[in-house]
Amino acid sequence: MSNEVESAQVSDAMEVAQLSSLAAVDSHAGSCEAEMPSRLLNDAVRSLPYHVVKDLLSIGVCSRCVLRILGTEDHIYCHSSFSQSMLCSVLEEVTGFKSECDFQFCSVCLGVLQLIYRDDKETLVKMESPNDMALVIAELVKKEGHQIDGFSLEVSIPQFILENESSLLSGMKKRYESEPWLQERLLSKCVSVKDVLKFAITKPLETLLDTKASASSFRIRLAYTHKMAFGNSVERNQGFKRRKIGTENGLQNVNDESVVANKDCSDYPTNETIAVTGRSSLKVPIDKVSEPCHLVYLCYRTHIYLCGRYLKYSRNVSQTRWIIDEERMGEASVEEIIGSNILPMCRGDNYKFHAAGREDIDVRMLGSGRPFLLEIQNARQVPSEETVKEIESKINGLENKLVGVKNLQVVGSQGWTLMREGEAEKQKQYCALVWISRPLEDEDVCSISLLNDMQILQKTPIRVLHRRSPLERKKIIYWMKIERIAESSQYFLLHLCTQAGTYIKEFVHGDFGRTQPSIGSILGCRAEILQLDVTDVKMDSE
């Protein structure tokens, strides 16, 4: 008895101390809230059905979960300065509950709302207030060097916690079904563990990061996992069944094993059930929780995109990194030149290069350029318009002049639609250096220029037949123009505009007659192609 009195006195003293510290907090935060937070809390606590609070505390539900499940508004108990121990003692004080055995971790939220977790080094961490967690996050953001103008906070918790909660709630509804407070407090959905934690951390985080929580590409994620959550759900359910035997709710035991197991009742820790005659027992499906959740703090930016058009001036540069047997083909790639110049300016982890179509390594990309999209993963910084212009100049000013860039800009996810447009349906314009086995006549120049919207049939070129389906593809040559080259009777430039997907080289030399017609067959002689340049990739949007 004396113990109780003493502890009551101690807790009184604690409460006084807490309240006075709260008072200090209040005077500081006074301008934000209409009433002092501590008073709101005390009022809320005193309005709770005490016997229920006691019941819950005795089966190991933590104070925040108690308040939450009984419908208290989150801003009342989520003030960032309200510490764990303070909330706990306020509840115990008011309801006269004395916790006998130490429930380390909440049987519903597994310690999440008690701000207890195991970190990545397996150390047990017990935070006193949400503010402390916000500090850890802010440190991480700073360490990663992120430049942000907003953040989006996400919390993920094991499904297990929701299962705990719903089985507790249904137990409570049965047990207290006739009581008056039930309607008001329980039947409307209670705030979730995730939302409470987010609410508690958001304000201090906004202050520390000096920015607002919003729908942002910068994500802060608290990922909670629990060993038991990975266990065989069959195992869990069997354990579940075992304990449910004996409730008046008539949950039938389907499993004979469970009946046998039930006989060893003495094994069960009695503190998890409240045996009250005539009333159903309040249970949570798991035993004393012996392990808290594992928490990983993550902060990252979702993909940012830069789009533009590239030009390729070299006949020895591939579009993407091309390596065969550890040897690089060509001297460089468009992808690497552009990516390696942009990635450091964004301080990102990685990049992915996408282009609207492609050209061979020995084909130059000139004229308006080919649209491309560069995806940057986890950029620490979104480049400004000015920086983007600098990047463009830098790439265009590179000494080796292999690649050029136009219209570089940061875009949102609409960048993808721009890419898709350029792919299948569009027309492409080329200039080919052609040689024929006899002198070029004026007639030839004329007849070629008269061929408009000519359909050709191309069997899959032999050079790609090893990796593509053998098909016959219909393609359209929209127009052609021969440009004579002075001092040569057998070489000329062929300008042509074709449907996307047309193999130009094969259209010139005929590919063993497998492309019909071909320049050779039209001019009635042998034709060879020496050089090819892409001079335009037509896009609707421009």
Partner: protein, 220 residues
């Protein structure tokens, strides 16, 4: 060089792409500023400078697509005297097979009259190979018959020369056997075969290079 450039600019106007000009006209209607058209013209000129080649650098007769992209091999007297065939192998492993110019069939006075792919157990022209994995392709040995080439007096069996999957036969030869005369080494090819790397190495040892073949047949 600059003279050449001037000439080209003039020629470009004559043979210039009508579509481009039309587009420029439209642009003019929408944006009646001189500078837009000037810019477009300037860009075209800049582009054009890139396109025109340096003639001096170009060879009189360039290598053909086949010479450039394929390695040529020959099988003289394959299975029978006078049965000279070629195997053109692409860097990707695919082999185009056909009649070498020294094949006996070309010496026949009447010329080649017909090509028949219905030899052996099946009609080679009837098979359909589909998909990237080349499903339904028949696996043939190097001595498997591909087709029969008929002349007025005689007929000759053309064989694979390379063990592998038959991807395609040149069906045009059925209606146009004269392709063998006009260009047996291009439009007159017989078939395309895909050997496994190991099988290729085995057969390669028994084939001759172009140089060796020329010496053998005493060609220029």
């Amino acid at each position: 060089m600059s003279d050449v450039m001037v000439d080209h600019t003039q020629k470009l106007e004559e043979t210039a792409v009508p579509n481009n000009l039309e587009q420029q006209d439209k642009q003019d209607e929408e944006q009646p500023q001189q500078s837009v058209q000037e810019n477009a013209e300037y860009e075209d000129e800049e582009l054009h400078k890139h396109l025109v080649p340096d003639i001096i650098q170009l060879p009189l007769i360039p290598p053909s697509a086949v010479e450039f992209n394929f390695a040529s091999y020959f099988a003289p007297d394959f299975m029978k005297p006078g049965n000279d065939q070629y195997v053109y192998r692409h860097a990707n492993g695919l082999c185009v097979v056909g009649l070498a110019s020294t094949h006996l069939a070309f010496k026949d006075k009447g010329g080649i009259t017909a090509v028949d792919f219905n030899v052996g157990k099946s009609d080679r022209s009837g098979m359909k190979v589909t998909g990237k994995r080349k499903k339904n392709a028949q696996h043939f040995e190097s001595n498997t018959a591909l087709c029969k080439v008929c002349t007025n007096g005689d007929s000759y069996i053309v064989r694979c020369c390379v063990k592998g999957s038959l991807l395609e036969v040149n069906e045009r030869l059925i209606k146009q056997p004269e392709l063998l005369h006009s260009s047996a080494d291009r439009e007159g090819y017989i078939a395309i075969i895909m050997p496994k790397p190991a099988d290729w190495l085995k057969v390669k040892a028994s084939l001759l290079s172009l140089e060796e073949f020329k010496k053998l047949r005493v060609l220029c």
